[in-house]
Subunit: 222 residues, 2 copies
């Protein structure tokens, strides 16, 4: 038996996604629920980073996780084992979530008693950047093996994110990855972006990320 | 001065992309030009693999490369240094290329005298899988750091590809990547997929990939 539901979300019919996103944020503010939209390429370590984040914030915040994928439920299975409220959203082939789809997920999961919900968006550096989900903050993960030129090639994603997690720093010795360059390129797109180099595998750097996220949640819900 | 042009392609107006793709393939057949559509996540090593492929096929085939990106020209610069005919296509934010956009690129670059053109598609495992570009064959790269579960999460991409290059095998010792599993998962989606484990960095395995590609080109143009 599964510890989580699989829910098929449908492309929403709203013409004005920005307005729907603002409406959702206003409701979340009233409910004292902070929504984080977590984006990245496939395979950058979103789920492992989430496991570390759940561990780091356990006892401080009551969390819920929405796993959005085109198919499969491997990530939701892993997350549900931690005991946090989890739902798997299937996008029916869609490459991103908009505010209406995010709302469907939130309603299906239920946000009562949760002060922090994380939406793990579809693994894609292009389309998710174009749609405001209604989240309070956007964060993205770039992993070391992907290379330091990504802010040049996917500028919108780096522009819309409040936080950039640079994951897999444990394998830095094996890749030609220039940390100074990636920070410079990212800041050129987005001078205010908060940058957290971490290894979700070893736990290095995770505390600073969790502290930042916890502060954002407290500021929103306070 | 640049050795390549940057060309802004526009979303095409054709209602029936499949028909346009078939039409383009028929024309390429007549012109004896083989078009390969190369897809992957951001940062899986498409450009480095292309450099190895150019090196491996030099003297056997006359090649042209179309680099499609949302922004930047870092990859086209690298490719143009090899001396092969290169064009940078900017998609104006679009997350994929369709047959009409591919045709615009081919016309702008010019295919006279080329028997192999490679389209480096936008880094994205979702949207490019949904659009037939008119290519004769589709290939994708999955890199070891992305993990072996990707065929479960991005099934359409693995279904539409004739060849799967598994790149970055030089870093296998540092990742929990199960080669048998990824081969099994991929074959479940696509029993006929040709699989080539390589390291574009060290050159390991590249010869088998180049041999396969060369055979495809000769069969098409013969």
């Amino acid at each position: 038996m599964r510890d989580f539901q699989i829910y098929e979300i449908k492309q929403s019919v709203f013409e004005n996604n920005d307005r729907e996103a603002d409406k959702l944020r206003t409701e979340l503010k009233k409910e004292k629920t902070f929504l984080l939209n977590l984006m990245s390429s496939p395979g950058s370590g979103k789920t492992t980073t989430l496991l570390r984040t759940i561990d780091g914030l356990m006892g401080k915040h009551s969390m819920g996780i929405m796993e959005a994928d085109i198919d499969s439920d491997v990530d939701a299975k892993t997350i549900a084992e931690t005991g946090v409220r989890t739902i798997q959203l299937h996008t029916g082939g869609m490459c991103h979530l908009d505010a209406g789809m995010t709302r469907q997920g939130l309603e299906e999961m239920g946000t009562e008693g949760l002060d922090l919900v994380v939406l793990e968006n579809v693994g894609n550096l292009v389309c998710p950047a174009e749609f405001d989900t209604g989240a309070v903050k956007n964060a993205m993960i770039l992993s070391v093996p992907e290379g330091h030129d990504k802010p040049l090639k996917y500028p919108l994603m780096f522009s819309v994110c409040d936080a950039l997690i640079i994951n897999k720093i444990d394998v830095l010795p094996y890749f030609d990855f220039d940390m100074d360059k990636v920070i410079g390129f990212s800041r050129r797109r987005n001078p205010n972006i908060q940058i957290f180099p971490i290894s979700a595998k070893t736990g290095e750097g995770v505390e600073a990320w969790c502290d930042w996220l916890s502060e954002q949640v407290s500021a929103w819900n306070g």
